[in-house]
């Protein structure tokens, strides 16, 4: 086909060039001859257009340069002069050369000289901009399917221009999966109806892998005269099955006023029915918004299903069993290492080292399987915030980061409740009403920010609000009333804030049905302690509150500190250990009151020997393991500190289950059992004992 096209073009170009020359000569005789100018221009135009088609690109390019000058001549910007005619004749010869020699390019010295001379004839601004024309753009395929909401309101004269809107919609449908609703509210009564006009417009939901330019291209011919709003509404990233609510969609589209929506929502009926009843919206618009909701939800469900197709569902008890087995393996491996060291057999040692390395790898892998991103929990909170805001009449921007931070499945499950409580609290007590905020010079919209990040072997979750903050005086007063603290107690700000976690302490002046009964924070504390996590509160009155939860990555295996009392071994979670010091008579502040001086600070301690009623005499020099719990420090006195130990947590049998202060047990390398201490409970027990002795 190409060859034939070339021959046709050569033939045609010969004729055109002959006519071109003739017209130029006519023009020389009568420079104002519009007809001749038109013929010259058309000749160049045809050579350019047809040449480009037949593959004579260089020739077409050259013709374009000459055409540009004659376009200006035709527009009256350039006068026909003798020099222009000579130049044009030379240009005709150059075009002839192009026709004979296809290798000839625009870099040819003669071509360059001619183009330069031609351009000098142009008025300075007359150089045509080549880039303004838009043709169909290359279709770019995207990796992810994106869903767009399109409102297409065609020009009224659409039919008179021979265009069929159904064709455009069909073309749109060819890009991906497409649903559309025709809006008929523009149709006038029959006597006013002009059959040549298009009164309809369409709402379209399109899910496509093509990019937005492909969509725009379809509307290319009606661009400018019609309304084409294209909005991205889903981009395959959010995996949460829920999509926006009906009211939100309608407000976003500008079909419904926010104030009207608010008013209606108070009536607690189905929004769709209400809207229709009140005539706020047409049936088709409602249908279209519902369609959008349905489409995106379907899509997200589909994606969820796809996601799960690329993985295998395993019952979590099987995983638990696997973790147990790894625990056993870790224990046996520790024994192997110990034995090989005792034997001093180099072959055995190298095998033991290999086994150790493999065991750790295996352990990390298996624990990794149980890890889930925390994002799903965060998304659920988003819904909670939205609902609460409506209920409380507050406006809040809820943001979160670190949604891909991974935590053990069990940890995530148990974390959900405390997080809900904390976010509720922030919204109810933290964030003030818009009016109050405005009068305090703050943005009427409050903000709550939730962040998760991994910090070493822990995950840190912070909830930050820019609300009223905690009032230390108020908390102190409440705590005094409840007898949680004594009037003499000198507490740091942090210690005061920590008091909010006590059961019954609420500083809220009125109790709402969301929070304020002082129960929530206690629940948070219990749940957090059960996760071996710590909570920190930081606040600035009038500026906001930040609550930080530090969680262990997993509950199955922890880093522990192995200690000994008499012949028994115990493990303290390393995460709460600050330092170890020796306990001599000199460092003891008071023999009876169990206090120790550390660099000028007095720290209370608990004698585990007494706590567990271990028989026998304590050694001369004992060790105190100083731990930090919430805002306070407490020491545990033991006989000897052995060192850090990878602790596989085993539940205690029924026999020991009732013993307070123990979190579980673990098996050491030599087969001995060590008990894992639950420091928080131990501290509680000691507190109670002290209170009792003070009372009596």
């Amino acid at each position: 086909m190409r060859g034939m096209l070339r021959d046709t073009f050569r033939e045609e170009a010969q004729e055109i060039l002959a006519e071109f020359e003739g017209s130029l000569l006519e023009l020389e005789d009568s420079p104002g001859d519009r007809d001749a100018i038109g013929r010259v221009f058309r000749a160049l135009h045809t050579i350019k257009g047809a040449g480009g088609l037949a593959g004579f690109d260089e020739m077409a390019g050259f013709a374009h340069e000459v055409e540009t000058v004659y376009e200006a001549v035709r527009a009256g910007q350039v006068e026909v002069s003798a020099s222009l005619i000579s130049l044009s004749l030379a240009a005709g010869d150059q075009l002839q050369r192009h026709l004979q020699d296809e290798e000839l390019t625009l870099d040819d010295p003669q071509a360059v000289a001619l183009i330069a001379a031609l351009r000098r004839h142009l008025p300075s601004s007359g150089i045509a901009d080549l880039s303004d024309g838009r043709s169909l753009q290359p279709v770019v395929r995207q990796e992810h399917a994106v869903t767009y909401r399109i409102r297409f309101r065609p020009p009224a004269d659409l039919f008179q221009r021979g265009l069929n809107p159904v064709g455009l919609l069909r073309e749109l449908a060819s890009l991906g999966s497409c649903r559309s609703v025709a809006q008929i509210d523009g149709i006038p009564s029959l006597d006013q109806l002009d059959p040549l006009k298009c009164y309809l417009y369409w709402d379209i939901i399109l899910t496509t892998g093509h990019d937005i330019n492909a969509i725009r291209d379809i509307f290319l011919f009606v661009e400018g005269e019609s309304q084409v709003d294209i909005e991205r509404i889903d981009d395959a990233v959010d995996h949460d099955g829920d999509y926006k609510r009906l009211g939100e969609i309608l407000v976003e589209r500008g079909d419904l006023k926010l104030a009207d929506l608010r008013q209606l929502l108070d009536e607690k009926k189905r929004l769709g029915d209400l809207l229709l009843q009140q005539g706020l919206i047409s049936g088709a618009k409602l249908e279209s918004a519902l369609l959008e909701q349905q489409s995106v939800q379907d899509l997200r469900r589909q994606r969820e299903a796809q996601d799960s197709a690329s993985s295998i569902r395993v019952r979590s008890d099987r995983l638990d069993k696997l973790v147990d087995l790894i625990g056993e393996l870790v224990t046996v491996q520790a024994r192997l290492t110990q034995t090989s060291q005792e034997r001093e057999d180099s072959t055995l040692l190298s095998i033991a080292e290999e086994v150790e390395r493999l065991t750790w790898d295996l352990r990390d892998q298996v624990l990794g399987i149980r890890m889930l991103p925390i994002g799903a929990t965060f998304s659920r909170l988003r819904r909670l915030v939205r609902d609460l805001c409506d209920e409380l009449g507050k406006e809040v921007d809820f943001t979160f980061e670190g949604a891909d931070t991974e935590l053990d499945k069990t940890v995530i499950e148990r974390l959900s409740d405390p997080l809900i409580h904390l976010v509720r609290n922030a919204l109810d007590h933290g964030i003030e009403s818009p009016n109050l905020r405005q009068s305090a010079g703050k943005n009427p919209r409050g903000s709550i920010h939730l962040a998760a990040r991994q910090a070493g072997p822990q995950v840190e979750i912070t909830i930050t609000d820019d609300g009223a903050g905690l009032d230390p005086d108020k908390i102190k007063k409440r705590a005094l009333e409840l007898g949680l603290i004594t009037p003499q107690a000198e507490l740091s700000a942090k210690e005061i804030y920590t008091l909010v976690f006590h059961s019954g302490l609420s500083t809220a002046d009125e109790v709402t049905n969301i929070s304020g009964r002082g129960v929530g924070m206690d629940v948070v504390r219990q749940a957090v302690l059960a996760l071996r996590a710590t909570v920190d509160v930081d606040s600035q009155l009038g500026r906001g509150t930040t609550i930080t939860i530090r969680l262990p990555l997993t509950l199955a295996i922890i880093d522990g500190l192995l200690v000994r009392i008499a012949g028994d071994f115990y493990v303290l979670p390393l995460s709460c250990v600050e330092e170890c010091i020796e306990l001599r008579a000199a460092t003891q502040a008071s023999q009876d009151r169990h206090l120790v001086h550390i660099r000028g600070e007095i720290v209370p301690y608990i004698r585990l020997r007494e706590q567990f009623a271990v028989v026998g005499k304590a050694p001369e020099v004992e060790q105190v393991v100083i731990t930090r719990n919430e805002a306070s420090r407490i020491g545990f006195v033991v006989d000897e500190v052995i060192g850090s130990h990878q602790t596989v947590i085993k539940p205690l049998g029924n026999y020991c289950r009732g013993v307070k202060g123990l979190a579980g047990a673990t098996i050491l390398g030599n087969g001995t059992v060590a008990l894992i201490l639950d420091t928080a409970t131990l501290i509680g027990l000691a507190d109670e004992a002290e209170k009792k002795s003070l009372a009596s």
Binding site: G51, G133, R161, G162, G167, I218
Partner: protein
Amino acid sequence: MAKRIMTVDDSSTVRQMLSFTLEDAGYEVLEAVDGVDAMQKFAAGERVDMLITDLNMPNMDGIELIRSVRKDATNRFIPIIMLTTETQESKRQEGKSAGASGWIVKPFKPQQVLAVVRMVLS
């Protein structure tokens, strides 16, 4: 039944290229060399589903042709695609207000022509 398309261009190269492309894709093509020729063919009773026309032609140019077709009782609703060059933005506007459905920018590739034809004929 195959859709019938009339191509109007004074350049035989362009006409040939369009015919190749369109016939290859299963369309029936009727060629005209300028606006006068096209209108004569219509007057003689030729019916087509679509018109593709150049703008710069002797005797009757593309814009005039579009206006004439839009006044013609039998053909007034057919899609009309103009062939323009990238420098003719103002021409394109003129064509649109005269009643053109769309345009193809010269020089064009066969698949561009087919994409546009498919779109306006679907």
